[in-house]
Symmetry: C2
Subunit: 197 residues, 2 copies
Amino acid sequence: MASGGRGRRPAGSGTREAIAAAARRQFGEVGYQRASLRSIAAEAGVDPRLVLHFFGSKQELFASVVELPFDPETTFDTLMAAGEQGLGRRVAEFLFGILDSPEGRKTATGLIRAAASEEEAAATIRELVAQRLLLPLASRVGRDRPELRASLVASQIVGLAMARHVVGLTPLATASRDELVAALAPVFDHYLTGPLT
Amino acid sequence: MASGGRGRRPAGSGTREAIAAAARRQFGEVGYQRASLRSIAAEAGVDPRLVLHFFGSKQELFASVVELPFDPETTFDTLMAAGEQGLGRRVAEFLFGILDSPEGRKTATGLIRAAASEEEAAATIRELVAQRLLLPLASRVGRDRPELRASLVASQIVGLAMARHVVGLTPLATASRDELVAALAPVFDHYLTGPLT
DNA sequence: CCGGTATTTCCACGAGCGAAGAAATGATAT
DNA sequence: ATATCATTTCTTCGCTCGTGGAAATACCGG
């Protein structure tokens, strides 16, 4: 990768993708602030200036690179299509499927760390969550106040991820997956299908 | 305050308290990283070196200064003493009492921002929450798995504060207090007194 | 084969940060 | 009165950061 000397590299070097991948990984690992342009460039084996050449600014790089660790549309279709019987449990199971996979957990904690640490990053994440998560979920909730229901679910998920994986709060961090699924399922049921008044 | 010239000030200047107050305010407002020793010193009307003179390091300053926005012992006594009837609702009402007051909200968001942005700060906060929040709460839960129940409540509270006040997620940020109390009360009831299996 | 353009590096700036050395000054105890 | 101590500031160090200017090199259309 590091062949020294300046100037353009031989064709198809895929540098832009390498930068994007490194950025995704570092934003996910340490959040927005602590992932520096310099460290991202270093991981991509590239001069820091090149990152700005392709993406303009750190903020734009972040916005170009954040993504959810799953596809909301198909996920929600699958979860909701099976009916309201056992819905909360399926949501909880799916949640821990994400949180117990290394990449899923990193993406989740990275989004949380980024949202908490920088106003600009928080705005980007707010749009991402609102448009690509809450909107599709709300559209599949066949009840009153679908947006409120969707965001209540999101709030419990964020809190769990934060307490369990960012802060490392016991006993949440050490409880078994089954225990947590059992505890959370009725809550998701309530938020999605229960009476809110 | 700024009378220039170096050397000791007239007796009982209360400088240490002024620094602590400024630090508390700034950590609460912008989190751990973005509250710099220099900005804290400036707010306290004091040379930056003095902050380190009194507190040793930024990390020690943070640990000396973080606190909860209420007293857990008396709060939990009051909440639980009224019996399990309406417990979840009382918890929710109390929560919004904190979150809707300026200082309470700042402290809450500050704790969240700090925990998310720095490993050292997260450790300090983990201890604070575990010892001064979860332990007293768990001791008053007359059920199985009291620690798990307490931390589940905490996780929903953290998620709500994060979504509502850090990210500013609609419709949580705009929903009325009464709506949210109604939606959350059954969840707190479930976590505190419901069957977890 | 040649001119333009996209890619890539080197270098530098100005700012901010946490931390520490050393000196000055007032309080305090003797 | 004087020596000691705590407090306070000035100054500096070494580091990292985001960003921009300018040059070098390779690819691509003619």
